[in-house]
Symmetry: C2
DNA sequence: TATAATACTTACTTACTAATAAGTAAAAAA
DNA sequence: TTTTTTACTTATTAGTAAGTAAGTATTATA
């Protein structure tokens, strides 16, 4: 008696998302996924014929997730600094999950990725950067945030701090990430 | 007629270093290396019995390289801002080689790395961060550089900008890295 | 000149990878 | 109630991975 297909497919996706962020695209296999679900290797192929299909779906779910976050932030009345903190918190949480951000993960494996996925990754990355830049620009206009660079550049600075900060935390510990987080929030306040 | 062993070993090391930075630890094989040198797979195993041995030697060469850079910078009379630029230039160069920095590479693959290597990676990372922090602290003491954070934190901020900037350049192009580079140099001047 | 070490090649093993074909039981649709 | 679809399992394939054992030239040493 097989479980509802959509459940299994969602679980595959969820496990694959975690593995991608934990060990990267080239270091997880269909077997890693199937073992966690107590199903066979071929069952994963039933839902995702190729690993490329699976990766594409993972990236697409992140695009959807970030679109939702974007519209959530756009309608939110949170102070701009708290919106930035939302991002910082998300990255801090990755450390506890022994993960890095997907963009960092796929960037590291970029030249081994299927071509079709690269375009979706580019879309995802610009979505995230654009969203952060918007938050920053609005915050500056409202007199809530202070920075000298153009908004895109400041978004690049902050997101690279966070993304590499999470990677670095694997090596030197979470304390370094917290120093980064504290510093970049402080910078925006003056 | 086999070539001088040390030559082959050095070439293996050099190719492996490049592959590590290009595709990561899990995405290159002994076959990738042997093909480039027109030797057999087993010849690589002769010089490096296991992939762990090879990775350990790679990390150790980077430790040596950075120790040399450290003493070079310590004795240099270059303005502090130019010393920072040395780092930025190194990272910019990685983009042209389709590479990312080793620390970023091994951080992404950290949980799939052999245990013995992790300690050397920690050493390497703290070496680099310490060196940058030293340059920054000296520069501030001399009135050449300006920043509000403690030197370690500012080193973290700059190195995460550079490391993730190089990764991001794979996705969105080198222009974003140049924005980052320009901004962080400008920040240090006022 | 004999011996030993060096730097390989040939040939192989074990283990895993993504992927597929064919079969099966349960559920849904006709 | 029959048929079809769904969601798998079983079994297999072709390819590649790291790693090894045994053999072979070449070079260095005694």
């Amino acid at each position: 008696m097989p479980a509802k297909s959509t459940d299994t497919k969602q679980e595959i996706l969820s496990i694959a998302r975690d593995l991608l962020k934990k060990v990267g695209y080239n270091a997880f296999s269909y077997s890693d996924i199937s073992k966690q679900l107590n199903i066979k290797n071929a069952a994963v192929h039933y839902h995702y014929p190729t690993k490329e299909d699976l990766l594409a779906d993972i990236v697409n779910t992140y695009i959807e997730d970030y679109k939702q976050l974007e519209s959530g932030l756009a309608h939110s009345t949170l102070p701009a600094i708290d919106k930035v903190s939302v991002f910082a918190d998300r990255y801090a949480h990755l450390i506890d999950l022994q993960s890095i951000c997907i963009i960092g993960s796929v960037a590291s494996d970029f030249y081994t990725l299927p071509e079709a996925v690269k375009d979706r990754v580019i879309l995802l990355t610009n979505l995230v950067l654009g969203m952060v830049a918007n938050v920053l620009e609005k915050g500056r206009t409202n007199g809530e945030l202070f920075f000298a660079e153009d908004a895109r550049t400041k978004a690049l600075l902050i997101m690279t701090n966070l993304a590499a900060g999470v990677q670095l935390a694997r090596i030197t510990g979470k304390k370094d990430f917290e120093s980064i987080r504290t510093a970049l929030i402080a910078q925006l306040k003056k």
